[in-house]
Each structure stands twice: as C-alpha cells, then as structure tokens.
C-alpha cells in the first residue's frame, strides 16, 4: 500500500471525488491559484479548472452561504476554511442555514455540502489562531462532525463526507498535514459514525480524536512499559458519536480517560463522560477523567504554549489516577 502524507491523502480524496462526480467543486480562500494555504488542493486547479476550483474573497460568511445555496439546488460543494478559527464568521450559515434547511422545509431541501479545513493549534500562532471548535458544531442537530487522525482515515472519511447527503463539518489538523501513513488506493471508504480502536488494551480506555490520537498512542506505549495496557479509541466522527464502541471498551476496562485538544467547559469530552457515566455507571471503577487544553487563550510564547497543550505525560498521569496508582 502506498505511503502518503495526510495532506496528499486529502488531495487524493478530493481529486477522486471530483473525477467521480461533476457536481463536486472546491471553493475557498487561496484554494486555486495559490494551490491552497496548506497545499491540500495542489494541482486541482490545473486538472479541474477555475469553475470547479474557486478562489474567494476573504468573506467566510459569504462563501459559506454560497456553498449552502449551491448545495440547496443539488451541487456538492466542498467549502474550505483556511482555518476553523475564521469559520466563526460563517457559523451563522452553518447553524442557521445548513443544519436547519432540511428540517424547516420538511425534507424538501437538503444541503449536501462539506465544510473543511484545519482546526486547533499549530505552533505559536497565538490566541486568535489556535482554537478547537468541534464542540460548537457537534452541539448542532443537522450537522455531522468528522475529524480524521490518520492519512488513511483522512482519505476514507473525506470521500464519505463528500458523498453524504448531510452538511458535514470536516476538521483537519495543520500539525497532521505532514504526517505519513499507508493509504489504500482508489475506492477507500471509511463510513461516518464509526470510531476506531487504534490500539487494543484491557486495563483502561483512552478516548481521543484528531491530534490527541497520536498523543494517546505515545502515552499508551509508555504505559505498556509500566505494565498497563491502554485501549486507544479514535472517535473519528464526533457527531454522531459511536457510543457502542466506547461502551463496549469501558465495559471491559472499567476505567476511562478522555483526551481532547480543546477547552474543558462543555467540550466534546464532557459529552463522552456524560454518555459513559449514564450508560455504564455500574461498570465504572473510577471517575472518568479528562485531559484537555489549558482553560486559557493560547499564549504565543513557546514554553507557555507547550504547557497549555495536551501531551503524553498528562494522559499517563490521568490514567494512573483512574487506576488509583501512586506514582
């Protein structure tokens, strides 16, 4: 199987879906001539031309709405936000237009659009450019929220997202774009709504998604060296949440830690905790603990930023606490 970067896996998914379906087009800032701010759309303008790979002015609200409108009449737009930080300007169109159109029209008008781009922090981009908003979109009935952690999932999930008839919020990671992994060629589809056990283990369940998957896997390695087998569950799709996979694992391990890049208050992890304590109350031998980004705006300084982010040590420490291990 060929090895690709996460970036090229996304590029491959876009290219294949645009070849497959003439209704699919890509629109956003710098996606065409500039080949993408993060080069995810490299080569697409040459292959598909300016009508299907469209550069926009800096108008997140406007072009998100253009995407919704085009989807309302049957096209399949892939709308790129240069980063999800800027999508706050467009959230009205996602929440009030995309997520509600099918319902308000009693099923007459769907919005088969994908909204994608990198979310969360990169390196030293400071407060306004380092935010994880998945909980905002996962809060909304009518939206799907997908966050691939590996190149293979990036390709398979983006293809599913583009073919899905619902508005899909697809959040990538700037820090993931250069990561490499094996990616099946051609028709590789990863269904939406299914979590993936990235590492099996029987002592504790670690639920994570996107960038925290690599963090959890590192933590799991260290824990293994200490004789603790952690099962690492990558949610992959945040909404709808794959409760079965989570509950099945916690039913075996009786202990759980939930890691996410974002802020703690009403984050995705809070929902995972709510689900587990409700559905598996009697299974739990310890409270479910969360590892999140520090509850502060992201500072620019390198050391402070490092301290604010989730890392393997923090996950290991939380696992030891749910195992009531003195360290």
């Amino acid at each position: 199987m060929p090895t690709l970067t996460y970036r090229d896996a996304l590029n491959q998914a876009l290219r294949e879906e645009m070849q497959r379906d003439p209704d699919v087009f890509l629109m956003g800032e710098e996606v065409a001539v500039y080949q993408g701010a993060y080069k995810v759309s490299r080569g697409l303008l040459d292959e598909f031309g300016p009508l299907r790979v469209v550069d926009t002015p800096i108008t997140e609200l406007g072009f998100a709405g253009v995407g919704v409108g085009a989807a309302m009449v049957g096209l399949r737009p892939v709308i790129e936000f240069m980063t999800w930080n800027f999508a706050l300007l467009a959230i009205d169109q996602l929440v009030n237009s995309a997520a509600k159109m099918r319902y308000m029209s009693a099923g007459q008008v769907g919005v088969p659009a994908v909204f994608r781009g990198p979310g969360g922090a990169a390196l030293q981009l400071a407060a306004q450019h380092s935010q994880a908003f998945e909980s905002y979109y996962a809060h909304i009935p009518g939206l799907m929220v997908v966050m691939p952690a590996t190149p293979a999932d990036a390709k398979g999930l983006l293809k599913s997202a583009i073919r899905d008839d619902n508005p899909v919020v697809f959040i990538e990671g700037e820090m993931l774009y250069n990561t490499k992994g094996e990616v099946p060629e051609g028709e590789h589809i990863v269904p939406l709504g299914r979590a993936d056990v990235k590492r099996p283990g029987g002592d504790v369940t670690v639920v994570c998604h996107s960038k925290t998957v690599a963090v959890a896997l590192k933590a799991a390695e260290q824990l293994a060296s200490e004789g603790v087998e952690a099962e690492v569950i990558d949610l992959r799709t945040i909404r709808p949440l794959d409760q079965e996979t989570i509950l099945e694992s916690v039913g075996r391990t009786h202990r759980c830690v939930v890691a996410e890049e974002g802020w703690p208050f009403a984050g995705v992890g809070a929902q995972v905790v709510d689900t587990i304590q409700r559905e598996a109350f009697d299974e739990l031998d310890a409270p479910v603990l969360r590892v999140t980004g520090a509850d502060v705006p992201m500072p620019y300084n390198k050391q402070l930023e490092k301290a604010a982010k989730v890392d393997p040590a923090k996950v290991v420490e939380a696992v030891n606490r749910v195992l009531y291990k003195e360290v």
Partner: protein, 340 residues
C-alpha cells in the same frame, strides 16, 4: 453603472396581454385578502409565532415574479406570504403552513417565516436578516456552474443592505458575473428604524456602485413598472450573465409583524394614511379601468372570487391534521441518517 429611474411606460396597455394584466390584479387581490385573513387568524390564536404581513407591497412580488420562468430560483425573507402565493403555491398550502398543519407547504415545521416549495423553485422564507442573500448567490453560482439559463432571485428589505452578508454576496456575484437579481424592497423601515437612521446613504441602489453592478430604482406601487424593470434585470441575468440590484420603493401598510402596531413610536398615522393613497391594487385597478381592460363590476367579481379562495384555504387549514408526533424527529438528517 449609474442609478436610473425609468419613467412609467407611456401609452395604453397592450390589449393582447389583457389576461396577463388581469392575472396580476387577481394575484394582488389574492395576496391582500389572504393577508387580511391571516391577520384575523393570528388574532384568534390560530396562527402562532411571528407573522409579517405583506399588505401594501403586493405589486413588488406580483410584478417581479411574473417576469420569471419555472426554472428560476427564489429566496425571500420572513415576509414572504405574498411571494409564495404569487409564485403559485396554493392558498391552502400556505395557510395550512401558517396554521402549522401537515398539509402546509413546509409540513407545518417551518411556519410563516419558512415557506418552501421545491417543485416551484421556491427555496424559503429565511428569518436571519441578510442570511439568504449568500444563499441566492450560491444558487446563481449553480446556474453558472451548470451553464443553464436559470436566474436566482433574492428578496430582502432595505435594512438588510447594511449587513455584511449583503456586501460579501453582492461583491462575489459581480466579481463572478452570476445570474442573480437582488430585489431590495425598500419599505422605508426595518422594524421601528427608518432607513435614514440605519444607512449613511438613502439611495440604496447606489450601494451597487461598490460592486459595479447594474441597478435601478423602481416604483414598487405600480405593478407594470415593477414588471418592466424586472424584465430588464432578467434579460441582463439570462443573456448577459450580469447581476442586478433593484431598489424597489414601496411601503408596509401594516405593522412590522402582528405584534407591532400599524403606527407608533416610529411613524405617524398621517404618514401611513398618506401612503395608503397609493395602494398598489387601486393603482392597477384604475389603470385597467382607464384602459378599458376591466370595469368596477368585474373587479368586484374578481375580489369575491379570491375571497372564496381564501375562505376555502382557511377552512382547509383549520380542518387539516397536525403533523404526526414522529415528525418531530424526522428530516433532521437525510433518510439513511435518520436513526442518528
């Protein structure tokens, strides 16, 4: 492009088009009677939520929609009963929607502010001011993308032009040469705020200069003038693939919504009385009579006819069943996603 106000077309009405002209009067009467009835039903608690009547602006929807084809796309604000009726959604389906019934054009789930009929290209009533302007722009983009001759028309009030969504959308429509027609129904007020207290310039059409977009100021109380201006805009969109901003001067005879008095803090009774003198239905009736295409009696008969249609719609809406309880969880996601 400079702002132009075209003179009211000169000379007599073309007798060849008599039926079409009478049809416009019928539509305006239907909207008027429908809205009166809706107001009544609202007072009786049969209609809930917000209800924004279109009385006084009928010539805008009727004159402009008459210039469109069945393939075109239409989006409106929450003040869209008139547009829905003029586009051909039945009085029954619209009234049933206001009553929240399953037989409503949005299955009772949308209500007054969210009327839809995809078979007619009527793509909503939208309740976030300015929010549907980018949507219409996207529909125009789709027409260009598919290289069809479709036109996307967007109706909104004059207060929406100060909103960023208007600015962002019109710039893209002009930049990309999209077949879009933006119809600003300038009824002088956004709720209780006069245009002059919300916008730094008072000629909305001049906003088009920021996008080098074709624009016209149109008398919205004269259905013939409205229709002529719309035909020019449709031609520009279909043939030349250029968008247009039409500033249509009109007036809302009723309050902003059913919960707002007709005159109050923000406008005087005198002003409203004065505006009522140019009732679009009276203006058109007189024109048809003057040109011998109608007479008082035939107009009375026509009015009676539409009143019956409205009464029938009212009865239908009252007797129609509510949606099934399961409807609450339907249509959140596409079929196969239903379970989620």
């Amino acid at each position: 492009m400079a702002t132009r106000t075209r003179p009211r077309p000169r000379g007599g009405l073309d007798p060849e088009r008599a039926d079409e002209y009478r049809g416009w009067l019928r539509q305006m009467l239907l909207i008027r009677r429908f809205e009166e009835k809706a107001g009544e039903a609202y007072s009786l608690g049969k209609i809930g939520g917000f209800c924004h009547l279109y009385i006084g602006q009928e010539a805008v929807a009727v004159g402009s929609l008459a210039a469109l084809g069945p393939q075109d796309y239409i989006t409106c604000s929450y003040r869209e009963h008139g547009h829905a009726l003029a586009r051909g959604i039945s009085a029954r389906a619209v009234m049933a929607e206001l009553f929240g019934k399953a037989a409503g054009c949005s299955g009772g789930k949308g209500g007054s502010m969210h009327l839809f009929d995809v078979s007619l290209g009527f793509l909503g009533g939208h309740a976030i001011v300015g929010g549907h302007i980018p949507l219409a722009t996207g529909m125009a983009f789709a027409a260009k993308y598919r290289n069809t001759d479709q036109v996307a028309v967007c109706y909104f009030g004059e207060a929406a032009v100060n909103n960023g969504a208007f600015h962002e959308a019109l710039n893209m429509a002009a930049l990309w040469k999209l077949p879009a027609i933006y119809i600003c129904e300038n009824n002088r007020y956004g709720m209780g705020t006069a245009l002059e207290r919300a916008s730094a310039i008072y000629d909305i059409s001049e906003r088009a200069c920021s996008y080098d977009m074709a624009n016209e100021v149109v008398d919205g109380q004269d259905v013939l003038v409205m229709h002529a201006a719309m035909e020019r805009a449709v031609q520009r969109a279909r043939a030349d693939k250029h968008p247009t901003l039409l500033e249509v001067r009109t007036y809302r005879f009723m309050g902003h919504s059913m919960s707002d008095p007709i005159h109050g803090h923000y406008r005087t009774r005198e002003e409203v009385e004065d505006q009522r003198k140019r009732d679009p239905i009276a203006v058109w009736s007189q024109r048809l009579i003057a040109d011998g295409l109608m007479d008082e009696d035939r107009i009375k008969a026509l009015d009676k006819e539409v009143m019956q249609e409205v009464d029938d719609a009212y009865r239908f809406a009252e007797e129609a069943p509510d949606p099934e309880p399961e409807a609450l969880f339907a249509d959140v996601y596409a079929e196969e996603k239903r379970e989620e």
